[in-house]
Amino acid sequence: MTEPLSFFQALWMGGLQGYLWVGFLLFIIGLMTVVLRRSFLLQFMGIELMLNAINIILLAFGKWHGGIPTASTFYLFIIGVAACEAAVGLALIVELYRLKSTTDADQHSGLRH
């Protein structure tokens, strides 16, 4: 087991760790978008970012394990499902907008006691 590389080293060297870092950063950015931004649309984008961050990690591991096609195949399916999910999500956002004429997520706080 070698010592973990630093961030820039990892990116520079183009190994597995570089991919992991990129995925990790994308995931954090997505998460922070969901937590900090108030617009549904931006939050939705954040969710998509997180999904894709995970996908990057999936593909990176797939390549690292001898380039087996399972991960790539799996990824294609995920893209398909994600497209459907995006359609559903956007439809929900449209409906929520019709309900209160705003896409501010904090205004849609009716699911309380």
Partner: protein, 638 residues
């Protein structure tokens, strides 16, 4: 042979028809169903009466099936018809039939008559069940059933305020008595291991008289408590005057002729048992005479025509119990028989007056009605003469027999009984004079009076004939008669013939003397009442001014109702309120049910404030949770 089962069954069918679909039938049809049910029941009773008459010693046991069979608790569903029950059946269905016919006229202006007739039929069903049953539990079914019908019929005018209240009162007073009957039955079962009346009385004949306070005395006392409830004796008589809130035919059938005499029937039925408990008999005699006297004085100054008759009924029931208490069972029962006729007659006559005056019951507003209501007057006159014991009437025969036997037992009791008879003569004359004689006191009412339709007058005429003929059954032997009813009842009452009652020697001279004393005193008091009230109300008003306290005490019935209200009902009510407020509201509802609910509610409320409904907060919290989890895992690894 088994046609006897139809006697209760047909009225029950009538009840089912009228009760279930009566409101859809036409009035005439529902009347017809009710009356024909009782009529066929009456015809059967007549057949059975004649069959018993041919052989009065014989008892017909009619086994229908097993009702309860647990170990040695064997209760058959069986009927017994002997002299006692056949006479009762005749009275119930005979007078019941006349009252049904009368009700067609009386209830003509009411709306829901199908309901009324259904209840009446149900009453006849339960009453015949009561007198025919061969075991105490089956008798108790009838006993409770007639109580239920009494409740339903008293409260027939349920839109008014006092009728449902009076019904409830009657029901509750009877419950107190019924506890006594149940206790008595249980003790008898413990002692004799059977509740079938014939087995019970067979075993009774093997026991000696109980001169101490033992099980038998206790059992009979408890049974007698039930009788005081059902037959309106001290201390449970208070419901009967209030029961007059029901329709008048109901008062005549249930609260004068039949149901209230079921207590006397029970004692007669178990006579050998009561003979073994002289203490109980002594108490019965005293309660009887005191009730007779007090109720008679209460009737003296009543204003309501039905109230006069109600107190009179209580008083006459007291006479019956006096007869039973001095072991004159057949004499007491003969009074049941005669009283049923003339008191039903008086009540129906009063009902006829009430209808004629458009539901006016105040005798102070009547007067001079003799010409307007001739049939009602003459029939009621017969009833009144019977009630006051005019020589030669049926009331005279039965009352005199009781008083004669009482004198043999104790002159003290006899003198009280005579006093009650004197009061009876006074109030009877008073209300008859106030209603029918003199000048009309309220012309408005008087002018609109009219004789009742023949639906009502024909039963009156038949009942007055019955009241006159009833004397044939038991004219006392001292006056050259033949007391048929006593010889019929001999075997039914003294059952296993091993216990003979005290043999009353017949002192003809003494009987004449006593009868003359009673009659003269009664007639004097009746004459006095006639003289005082012939002019109208002046004497009573003068008396009221002069003896305000006496008058008020009598008018307010010795304030017994008020005393019971303050001493028993109100404390119980308060106790109930305490239990309600403390036990139910605070303990069970509060601490038991609402407190856990409230705690849960408050905790939920507090917890619900964590919910903001904002997606971002939830996401952040999940993130923090995830981080916390990771930290835990991390720290766990090293």
């Amino acid at each position: 042979m088994n046609s006897a089962i139809l006697i209760p069954l047909i009225p029950f069918l009538g009840f089912a028809l009228n009760g279930l679909v009566g409101h859809r039938l036409s009035r005439a049809l529902s009347n017809f169903i009710a009356c024909s049910a009782i009529a066929s029941s009456f015809a059967l009773s007549l057949v059975w009466f004649i069959r018993v008459l041919e052989n009065p010693q014989h008892r017909f046991d009619l086994m229908i099936g097993q009702w309860i069979a647990v170990d040695y608790l064997q209760i058959p569903f069986a009927f017994v018809i002997d002299a006692l029950s056949s006479i009762m059946l005749l009275v119930i269905t005979g007078i019941g039939l006349l009252i049904h016919i009368y009700s067609i006229g009386y209830m003509h202006h009411e709306k829901a008559t199908a309901r009324f007739f259904a209840y009446l039929n149900l009453f006849v069903f339960f009453m015949t069940l009561l007198v025919m049953s061969s075991s105490l539990p089956l008798l108790f079914v009838g006993w409770e059933g007639v109580g239920l019908c009494s409740y339903l019929l008293i409260g027939y005018y349920f839109e008014t305020e006092e009728a449902p209240r009076a019904g409830l009162k009657a029901f509750l007073y009877n419950r107190v008595g019924d506890v006594g009957v149940l206790l008595g039955m249980m003790i008898l079962f413990l002692v004799f291991k059977t509740l079938t009346i014939s087995d019970l009385l067979q075993q009774v004949s093997q026991r000696g008289v109980e001169n101490y306070f033992g099980w038998l005395t206790f059992a009979t006392l408890m049974l007698f408590l039930g009788c005081t409830g059902k037959s309106a004796q001290i201390p449970l008589y208070l419901w009967l005057p209030d029961a007059m809130a029901g329709p008048t035919p109901v008062s005549a059938l249930i609260h004068a002729a039949t149901m209230v005499t079921s207590g006397i029937y029970l004692v007669c039925r178990l006579a050998p048992l009561f003979v073994l408990a002289p203490h109980t008999l002594h108490l019965i005699a005293w309660i009887g005479v005191l009730t007779a006297l007090f109720a008679a004085t209460m009737a003296l100054f009543q204003k309501d025509i039905k109230k006069v008759l109600a107190y009179s009924t209580v008083s006459q029931l007291g006479f019956m119990f006096l007869g039973l208490g001095v072991t004159g069972f057949s004499a007491g029962f003969f009074h049941v028989f005669t009283h049923a006729w003339f008191k039903a007659l008086l009540f129906l006559g009063a009902g006829s007056v009430i209808v004629a005056l458009h539901h006016e019951q105040d005798i102070f507003k009547m007067g001079g009605l003799r010409k307007k209501l001739p049939i009602t007057f003459y029939t009621m006159l017969i009833g009144a003469l019977c009630l006051m014991g005019f020589p030669g009437t049926s009331g005279f025969a039965s009352k005199d027999e009781i008083l004669y036997l009482t004198y043999l037992h104790s002159p003290m009791l006899w003198s009280l009984g005579v006093l009650a008879a004197v009061c009876t003569a006074f109030y009877t004359t008073r209300f008859m004079v106030l209603v029918f004689a003199g000048q009309p006191r309220d012309l408005n009412i008087f002018d609109h009076a009219h004789e009742s339709p023949w639906w009502m007058t024909i039963p009156l005429i038949l009942l007055s004939l019955g009241a006159l003929v009833a004397v044939m059954f038991g004219w006392p032997e001292a006056f050259g008669g033949h007391n048929r009813i006593a010889s019929w009842l001999q075997s039914a009452i003294h059952y296993a013939q091993s216990i003979q009652p005290e043999v009353h020697e017949l002192h003809i001279g003494l009987a004449w003397k006593l009868a003359i004393i009673t009659t003269v005193a009664s007639l004097l008091s009746a004459g006095l009442a006639w003289k005082l009230y012939a002019e109208g109300l002046e004497w009573e008003q003068k008396f009221e001014k002069k003896c305000l306290h006496t008058y008020r005490i009598l008018r307010e019935k010795y304030y017994v109702d008020q005393a019971v209200q303050t001493l028993i009902i109100n404390p119980f009510f308060r106790l109930g309120q305490v239990f309600w407020k403390l036990g139910d509201v605070i303990l069970i509802d509060g601490i038991g049910v609402n407190l856990p609910g409230a705690v849960t509610h408050v905790m939920g409320d507090l917890g619900s404030h964590l919910q903001t409904g904002r997606l971002r907060n939830y996401t952040l919290l999940s993130l923090l949770g995830l981080l916390g989890l990771l930290v835990l895992l991390w720290s766990g690894r090293t």
